[in-house]
Every structure is written in structure tokens, then in C-alpha cells.
């Protein structure tokens, strides 16, 4: 967010116009950021977590069958 401190060494564009471009860009990007996340993406994460959990259980059981945790 605070990355525009040192990078302003371009005298070619007048600041107001540059700021306008920057605003437009952020507005456009922000409109995408605020869109709802498609369900298939959150479901994918659930599936990945579930699969890994099972995988780990499978791996940990034979090594230390008696103890839980």
C-alpha cells in the first residue's frame, strides 16, 4: 500500500493525471476484489483440506498406533 514513496521519479506525467490513472486502476481492481468468491473455489479449499487431513491420519496411525493426538 505504501509503495509509492520512492517510485515517483518520473517527471514526464503531471501528478494530477497520474493520480487520476491510479484512481481508475484502483477503482477497477477494487470492483473485482469486492465481488463474491465463486463457491467452487472455496469448495476446492475444503476438499484439499479434507484430503490432506485424511492423508495425515493415515500416515500417523501406523507409526504411533496406540497414542492419539
Amino acid at each position: 500500500m505504501s509503495d509509492k514513496k520512492k517510485t515517483q521519479e518520473r517527471p514526464s506525467l503531471e501528478p494530477p493525471i497520474q493520480a487520476h490513472l491510479g484512481d481508475q486502476l484502483k477503482k477497477l481492481y477494487g470492483s473485482i476484489l469486492s465481488e463474491p468468491i465463486p463457491e467452487k473455489l472455496t469448495l476446492l479449499l475444503d476438499q484439499l483440506e479434507e484430503a490432506e487431513r485424511k492423508e495425515r491420519e493415515k500416515l500417523s496411525r501406523p507409526v504411533d498406533g496406540s497414542g492419539d493426538r
Binding site: 481508475q24 473485482i32 467452487k40 490432506e52
Partner: protein, 167 residues
Amino acid sequence: MTGITAFKSALLAELPSLRAFAISLSGSHDQADDLVQETVMKAWGAHASFIPGTSLRAWLFTIMRNTYFSQYRKARREVQDSDGEAAARLVSAPAQEGHLDLADFRLALDKLPDDQREALILVGASGFSCEEAAEICGCAVGTIKSRVNRARQKLLQMMSMQNAADL
């Protein structure tokens, strides 16, 4: 166990940013979601190679970018025709005044060369420093700076031509 859960919620928190970057790379919502999906799967598989304390977003963007350029880039050319449509969808959601301006901007952005648009978005919208953007793109910091510069110049040119045409 907590490791997985923490990683999952960290990924979940980055999904909006990943989607936004994917849309700006691919120019289409549908393709973007496929790209995000693939990035998430790769990231999950490569979990162990993520260095805690470094930027997860930068790491994810790097994976996405590599995926995009190795598999998707050609497809962008193929769906170029529907780009205008995608751009319209992108900005049409809340129909309000001032969005016409934004739609014009989106179209102008789409006309930039891929490398310039990418640099501009990373630095100007995603909140990365030029150094981080350089790392994500695998190029020199100076290259990022000059791409951002050229992107801004070109946008300015396009936008001022539009304004002139409106008068």
C-alpha cells in the same frame, strides 16, 4: 493439523486478490476462475516450499503467473474477440454514473502489451513494491519501473484521445 488450517485460511484470504490478478492477466472471468483454481491446487501441493514470514501473496502471484504464461497465454489470444464483452461485464455490475469512464479505462488497459499491463497492475493496484513485482515477474527492478512508466504513458495517450473525441 493447525498447519493445514492456517494455510487454508491464509489462502482463503488471498482468493479475492488472486481472482483480481487472474482477471487482469487473462481478460476473462471464466478463464480467471480456472486459473485461480489451478494456482490454488499448485500452491497447496507446494505448501512446504513456502517460506513463512515472506509474502504469501507474492508467492501465490508468482505461481499464478508461471501457470498463466505456460498454459493460458495462447488462449487469451483465442478469446480476444470476447474481451470487449468481458470488459463490459467487469464494470457493469453496479450501474452508476462514472462507470462509462471506467469502462473506457478498462478497454484502454486491455490494449496495453501484456508485460506493461501486468507491471502496472502489480505496482499500481495490487500494492506491491517495484522490488516485489520484479521478483514476481522474474525481471530487474528497472524493467518493472520502465514498464509501469510506458504503461502510464500509453494509457494517458489513449485516454486523452478518447476525451478529445468526446468533445
